[in-house]
């Protein structure tokens, strides 16, 4: 009776979009405003295009080996040892980014919700929850994303829609910014938001129609990207760039400013943070899943369950390394950016080598 179940193209798109739409939603408008000034919306679009390119590479290379995960086919393409080294780097990349994500999550909680609770407690709680839920196979992994997707997307749509009336269109001008933006950080910070799209390399083997995965990937990215864009547009439209720079979590401020139902619910921010927890959870779930899968492949375990448990103390330790918020954000910006560059480069290399050496099958469509 135990059939290997497959996921449909729509479900793949949902997983991708819920993975991508992650914890950065709170601080992203501030980050991009810092890097790109008034050109923030345009740079978001440009960064998305970069991300779509890497997504394209991830999908194409995975489609050539539609029954294997990246960790298996990289050995076929570039040989055992180079693949081992590269996969170790993939593991390191996701390990560090997810550790930083846990820390950021803890930081937000201790700034906004629990001002007196030690940050270790709030990190440890979500860490254990994520680790426990990673103990199942990939199909169950997609179920989790499917179920929470509405809770990830809808609250943000709601907040954006409610706050749209306060937008001053003048704040968006000039669209190209007052000065030349710092190109690299301005491109990398939105592009590295989409780091989670790497998940497609492990999801493709359980997809029903791998040939149509490109559409799904595109759809997933576009959904999340438009939400990010809307967020940037509305925060900058409401506060203007200068004020956005002063706000640590502009999206949260936006949620705080709205009241619904004639002041029946006066403060939305507490509810909003709770919805954001679900959002963070799905993203962390994906990265933690990727981390544990890559590690179990490196150690050549059949089952990744042991690894998920073993990773908890290390993840916890690394997440406590940054001394303060400033260091944390600086460090995670670097980790995300270099991670994005590395993953795209690695996939591109794999793709080119696979094409040259004629490994795998040419995808149709």
């Amino acid at each position: 009776m135990q059939k290997t179940q497959k996921i449909s193209t729509t479900q793949l798109a949902i997983v991708i979009s819920s993975t991508i739409f992650g914890p950065y939603v709170l601080s992203f408008p501030q980050i991009i405003a810092k890097a790109a000034d008034n050109a923030a919306p345009l740079m978001t679009i440009a960064g998305t295009c970069c991300a779509i390119f890497s997504m394209f590479v991830f999908t194409r290379i995975s489609q050539r080996f539609s029954d294997k995960t990246l960790f298996s086919y990289s050995q076929i393409v570039i040989g055992r040892l180079p693949a081992l080294v590269a996969n170790l780097l993939v593991f390191a990349c996701f390990f560090i980014t997810s550790a930083m994500m846990f820390r950021q999550f803890g930081e937000v909680l201790s700034t906004v919700v629990f001002r007196r609770t030690p940050i270790e407690i709030s990190i440890l709680m979500i860490l254990i929850l994520v680790a426990l839920s990673c103990r199942r196979d990939t199909v169950k992994f997609t179920y989790v994303h499917l179920f929470y997707w509405p809770f990830v997307i809808l609250p943000f749509l709601f907040v954006i829609m409610m706050s749209m009336k306060a937008v001053h269109f003048l704040n968006w001008l000039p669209p190209f910014g007052n000065e030349t933006p710092h190109w690299l950080p301005a491109l990398l910070s939105p592009a590295s938001l989409y780091l989670g799209s790497f998940i497609i390399t492990i999801l493709l083997p359980i997809t029903e129609k791998p040939a149509r995965a490109m559409k799904a990937a595109l759809f997933g990215i576009v959904v999340s990207a438009s939400l990010y864009l809307l967020l940037v547009l509305s925060t900058i439209g409401i506060y203007g760039v200068r004020e956005t720079l002063q706000l640590l979590y502009p999206t949260l401020e936006m949620a705080r400013s709205i009241a619904i139902g004639g002041d029946v619910i006066e403060r939305m921010d507490a509810l909003f943070i709770i919805m954001w927890v679900i959002n963070v959870y799905t993203t962390m779930f994906s990265t933690y899943f990727l981390t544990s899968l890559s590690l179990s492949h490196l150690l050549q375990f059949k089952d990744h369950r042991l690894v998920t448990t073993l990773l908890i103390p290390f993840m916890f330790g690394v997440s406590l390394l940054p001394q303060d918020q400033y260091q944390l954000y600086k460090f995670s910006r670097i980790a995300d950016g270099s991670g994005y560059l590395f993953l795209t480069g690695y996939a591109l290399l794999l793709w080119i080598v696979a094409v040259v050496r004629r490994k795998g099958v040419r995808p149709h469509g």
Partner: protein, 554 residues
């Protein structure tokens, strides 16, 4: 009749007090001499060994008789399980009757020439034939099931007749699943009756009932029902495989089977549906599910069972679809109430009072002014006492049960408020929670949900809304990971196609739900004729004029 003193002495003799010497109870009787495996030709020897083996069985009757006045034979049966009247009139009387024709009467050695068993079974006995065997163990099992054994001198064989008759109660309305609009007959303890209730609703040769025995000692008859041509053979074989590996001394209730065949034993959620209703069972069979019934239990198990099934009742389908959909929505809200209300209340009161409108927050604070406990403790105390009250009302005799529940609520609620133990709003919250949990039709699903609110309350007390979210994520993840016979527990919500949605959150009109649930992988997935959907949609726009016009044309 022996008196008890003699009984006691006989027992002591049989079971010497030194445990080391005595073999175990089951071997005690057989240990005396090697147990014969086959019957022998001599009736006296056979009866003798029977007496030896079954000396413990006090309701065994050995009725000696001469077949047609010539050949000596014996009937063996248990008085407690058999229909005495049938034995007298259907077996004994015809056997003792003399030969009908004088020719046969004269033919002295006729009885030696023909097979007497055949003659007896085909021409004489009125009772239904059981089984013919020369194995001791087979015959003993048959005897223990209430069949009557016939042994004839000169044959190393015995034949059994079906004379089983067990006392049973009448068919009543199921107490656990009351409906407004639906049939009033429920299953009872006897398997035969239950199967007849199913067959009566499902008069098709495709209904397959496979029977077998479970329990090494109780030998409970178990039936697996499915519809051939609808149910997926893989599902049926999986059910049988799981039943076949059950090895236990006794099956007292269907719940025993449920625990052996469910996918995830460590879970608060039921993964197999049970029902007392015959119509519900038939509806499930028609969907392509498999039902398991066991003798001695008035519940049928239905697999696979998904989460939404526990929130559906049979009268959803007989009522107007709009109303039924609305009722399902009400049940969903009741479910959310019963799980989340107390924990949300605790976290809002203790951590996020700003979420409430100011006036209301002030009113609540006023109500809580005299309460000495933190909100978490207050709610926990009230919820716990409510659970005690609920549990007590089940045990109470019916005459005072109804009175106590009302009095109990009044006393506990009113007194707790006036004693300063709890605030009025807590009483309201607890009442809503409890009532909400009773809106769930399935008792086992409802109690799972109700008990899960306690960890959530504690999480809320410790971490506020954040704790509640983490707790609910944990619960929901657990549900997402559950399987019921290979089908994900929340499949109807996660289904790839919209078809799953038709019969979960809403109850679409019957002509709309043309397919069986896709996750069951049924062989025949279509329920209604082609075009029913469009015909019914047309009816919405064109009312009855068309039908009338067609009628007049004809």
């Amino acid at each position: 009749m022996l008196d008890w003193k003699a009984n006691y002495e006989a027992f002591k003799k049989k079971h010497p007090s030194q445990p080391s010497e005595s073999p175990s109870a089951s071997e005690g009787s057989s240990g005396r001499e090697s147990k014969p495996r086959q019957l022998v030709a001599s009736l006296e020897d056979n009866l003798q060994s029977f007496q030896n083996q079954m000396s413990n069985v006090t309701d065994l009757v050995v009725r000696r008789l001469k077949i047609m006045g010539k050949r000596s034979s014996a009937l063996l049966f248990l008085t407690s399980l058999t229909d005495q009247r049938l034995i007298q009139e259907g077996i004994v009387a015809p056997l003792q009757a003399p030969f009908v024709s004088p020719e046969q009467m004269k033919d002295e050695d006729l009885l030696d020439r023909v097979d007497l068993f055949n003659l007896v079974c085909q021409e004489r006995v009125h009772a239904n034939l059981g089984q013919r065997s020369s194995e001791w163990s087979v015959l003993m099992d048959l005897l223990m099931k209430g069949q009557t054994l016939l042994l004839i001198d000169g044959y190393g064989e015995g034949v059994s007749f079906d004379t089983r008759k067990v006392e049973k109660r009448g068919i009543e309305q199921p107490q656990t699943e009351q409906v407004i609009r639906g049939s009033r007959d429920g299953f009872i303890e006897q398997l035969e009756t239950n199967l007849s209730l199913i067959r009566y609703r499902l008069q098709t040769a495709d209904l397959v009932i496979e029977t077998g025995e479970l329990g090494a000692r109780t030998k409970s008859k178990t039936a697996v029902c499915y519809i051939d041509g609808i149910a997926n053979p893989e599902l049926v074989s999986e059910v049988m495989r799981r039943l076949s590996i059950i090895d236990i001394d006794g099956i007292i209730d269907a719940g025993y089977i449920e625990q052996f065949i469910e996918d995830q034993p460590i879970s608060p959620f039921p993964q197999i549906q049970n029902t007392e209703r015959a119509d519900k069972t038939v509806a499930s069979l028609l969907e392509g599910r498999v039902a398991i019934l066991v003798d001695g239990s008035s519940f049928a198990l239905i697999v696979p069972a998904l989460f939404d099934q526990f929130f559906q009742t049979i009268d959803d389908y007989s009522e107007r679809f709009l109303i039924a959909s609305l009722l399902r929505f009400v049940r969903l809200i009741a479910l959310l109430f019963s799980v989340f209300f107390p924990s949300l209340y605790v976290s809002v009161i203790s951590y996020n009072p700003e979420l409430m409108p100011t006036d209301f927050a002030v009113a609540i604070a006023g109500g809580r002014a005299g309460v000495p406990f933190p909100a978490m403790l207050e709610v926990l105390i009230m919820e716990a006492s409510m659970e005690i009250l609920r549990e007590a009302t089940i045990r109470l005799p019916q005459m005072i049960g109804g009175a106590l529940s009302i009095v109990g609520v009044l006393v506990i609620g009113q007194a707790a408020v006036s004693a300063g133990l709890s605030s009025p709003i807590t009483v309201v919250i607890v009442a809503l929670t409890t009532i909400g949990s009773f809106a769930t039709p399935a008792y086992n699903a409802a109690i799972a949900m109700r008990m899960l609110r306690f960890p959530l309350i504690i999480m809320a007390g410790l971490f506020g809304l954040y704790g509640v979210v983490l707790g609910s994520l944990f619960i929901i993840n657990h549900m997402l990971y559950l399987d019921s016979f290979g089908v994900p527990f929340l499949q109807s919500i996660l289904a790839k196609k919209r078809a799953g949605f038709m019969d979960t959150l809403i109850r679409a009109p019957l002509w709309w739900m043309g397919k069986r649930p896709s996750y069951l992988h049924t062989l025949d997935d279509t329920r209604r004729a082609e075009g029913t959907f469009y015909a019914n949609v047309d009816k919405i726009y064109y009312q009855e004029d068309n039908a009338d016009a067609e009628n007049t044309e004809n």
